[in-house]
Symmetry: C2
Subunit: 302 residues, 2 copies
C-alpha cells in the first residue's frame, strides 16, 4: 500500500482508506509516522473525551451525543477504547458497532480499539486515529475510554474537553480517585439519574471542588431516556464554541498532548522492537571478551 | 562521583562502593552503562535464581543457602526483589536484612530491590547488580524473586540455575501456571515439608513433567529446621560443578540473558526520559504549521 495514495484517499473522505489508516497506526508503529506526517496539523475536529468507571453507561451516552451532533448536520467520528482481552475483544467490539443506532450513517465512523496492555501504545494509536479522522473531515471526534487510570489521563491530554461519566452509588470510588477525577473533567455527568442516590452523588462530586478555584458543571442525565442530554450538550457546546472561534490555548493543549504521546509511543516502539535475534552470537563474543554486554545490547536495541 | 574510581573500588571488594554502584544502576539508567562497561565480562559468580509464589518461605531458604555456602568458604551476594509498594518497601527491606542470620558477615552482601512496576526496568537493574557483585568477587549470587510472572521469567534467563520453591497446598496454583513453572526450574523444592500434603505436592509437581523429556529433581525441604537443605544443595552443586568446570553453554545462557535485558532496559530508559519540557513551544510551531507533530515528537524523544 502506497502511503501517499492512502493519505490522499483519507483526505478525500474515503471510509475504507480511513479504516486502513487506523489499522496501520494501531499495528505498525514503524510506518505510522510516514502516514501521519503527510496530514498537516490537526485543524477541523473538536475532540471530546468521555471517561469514567465501567458500567456508568458511557456507550449509551456516546450514542446520544452522536444523535445530537448529527441533527446539527455535523460529521461524527468515535474512538472507543475497549479494555477487553484480545481474545474476547473482537466480538465485543463488533457488537458495539452493530448496536449503535448510527451504524448505517455514512457521516458517522465508529472505531473500537482494544487496550493492549501498554497505555503508552494506546495513547499513541488513539492520537493517530484522531488525526486521521481530522484529516478525513470529521467535525467531532468522541474519544471514549474506561476508568480513571493513567491511560485516561494521557488520553484526556489530547482532548479539547473531557466529560467524566459517573452514576449513583459510586461514592467510595470517587473519594479514592479524588485527585484523578478532579484534574480531568470539564463537565461531570451523573448518568442513570433515575436511580436512587443521584442527588447525593451530585453533592459528592460538587464537594470535590469545594475550596478550589474550579467549579465545572455537574449534570444529571439519563442517557437511556435522553433526559438531560440537551443540557449536557449545552455545557459541551460552550467549550466547542471557544474551539470554533479559534481559541489558541485550547488548540495548543490538544496538540501538545499529541506531541507528548507520539514521543512516548516512539520510545515504546523501540522497546517492542528489541529482538533476541543475534543474541547467541553476541553472547559468544562477550564470553570471548571481544565485545562488552553494553555494546552487544546496543546492537539488539535499535 | 568518578565512575572509573568507583569501578576500581568495586573490583577491590569495597562494600560501600558496591552499594553505591548498585544504587547507580537502580536509579540512573543513563549513567549505568558507563559504570558497567568498565567491568569486563561476567566471570566469577555462579548465579542461582530462587523463585516461587509468595509465602513459600524463599527468604528462609535463602538464609539456609547462605549458611551452607559460607561453610564452604565461599563469598555470597544476595539480590532480593521485593514487590512491596515504594511506600512500605523501605521498612520491609530493612527488616529483611536485619533478620538475616548473616547480616554481620563481611563475606555476605544482601541487597533488596523494590519492584518498580516495570518488569523490564527491574531485570535491567538486577542484571547490573549481579555484574557488580561478580566484579566485586562474590562466588555465588542468589537472586530471589517472587511469583511466576513475566519478570521472573526474565530474571530466570540471567541465572545459571533456578530453584522453584513451592509448598503443600498449592495444587491449583501449580495447574494454572503450569507452562510457566515447567519452563523455569532446574530444581523444584516443596518447602515446609512438615506440613500436611507435602507428598501429594511432590507428586503434583512430578506430574507436570510426565511425558516430557525433562525430569528435574523435586525435593522436600524444611528451610526452618534445615531438613533436606543438604540434599537441595547437592542438586544445585551438580549444576554449579558444570559452571566451575567451564561449561560454555551455561555461561552463554546467562550472558545472553544479560544482553537481552540490558537492551530492553536501554529502550525503557528512553521511554522514561521522554520529557515534556519544550512541548509548549513545539505545540505552537505545529499550530503555526512550521513543524509537524512527528518532527516535534522526535525532539522530545531522545
Amino acid at each position: 500500500m502506497q502511503l501517499a495514495r492512502l493519505a490522499d484517499e483519507i483526505r478525500e473522505g474515503d471510509r475504507v482508506a480511513l479504516a486502513r489508516g487506523i489499522t496501520l497506526v494501531e499495528d505498525d508503529p514503524e510506518r505510522a509516522p510516514a502516514l501521519l506526517g503527510r496530514l498537516g496539523p490537526p485543524s477541523r475536529s473538536f475532540i471530546l473525551g468521555i471517561t469514567g468507571p465501567p458500567g456508568t453507561g458511557k456507550s449509551t451516552l456516546v450514542d446520544q451525543l452522536i444523535g445530537s451532533y448529527r441533527r446539527k448536520g455535523l460529521r461524527v467520528g468515535v474512538i472507543a477504547v475497549d479494555p477487553s482481552s484480545p481474545l474476547t475483544g473482537g466480538a465485543l467490539l463488533g457488537d458495539r458497532i452493530r448496536m449503535s443506532a448510527h451504524a448505517g450513517d455514512r457521516n458517522v465512523f465508529i472505531r473500537s480499539m482494544a487496550s493492549r496492555g501498554w497505555s503508552g501504545g494506546l495513547a499513541r494509536a488513539a492520537t493517530g486515529a484522531i488525526r486521521l479522522m481530522d484529516a478525513s473531515g470529521f467535525d467531532i471526534v468522541l474519544l471514549e475510554t474506561v476508568g480513571i487510570g493513567q491511560s485516561d489521563i494521557e488520553v484526556v491530554g489530547i482532548s479539547h474537553a473531557t466529560l467524566v461519566v459517573l452514576m449513583p452509588g459510586l461514592g467510595d470510588e470517587i473519594q479514592v480517585s479524588k485527585a484523578g477525577l478532579m484534574e480531568v473533567g470539564d463537565v461531570y455527568v451523573v448518568n442513570k439519574s433515575d436511580l436512587e442516590g443521584a442527588d447525593p452523588m451530585v453533592v459528592s462530586v460538587l464537594s470535590l471542588f469545594r475550596g478550589t478555584r474550579r467549579s465545572p458543571p455537574v449534570l444529571k442525565v439519563s442517557a437511556l431516556s435522553g433526559v438531560g442530554v440537551e443540557e449536557l450538550l449545552g455545557a459541551v457546546e460552550s467549550v466547542r464554541g471557544r474551539f470554533e472561534s479559534g481559541d489558541r490555548e485550547l488548540k495548543l493543549k490538544s496538540i501538545r498532548g499529541m506531541i507528548v504521546e507520539t514521543a512516548r509511543g516512539a520510545a515504546l516502539a523501540k522497546f517492542a522492537a528489541v529482538s533476541e535475534r543475534g543474541a547467541d552470537g553476541l553472547a559468544r563474543k562477550v564470553l570471548e571478551g571481544s565485545t562488552s554486554i553494553e555494546a552487544a545490547a546496543a546492537k539488539l536495541a535499535p
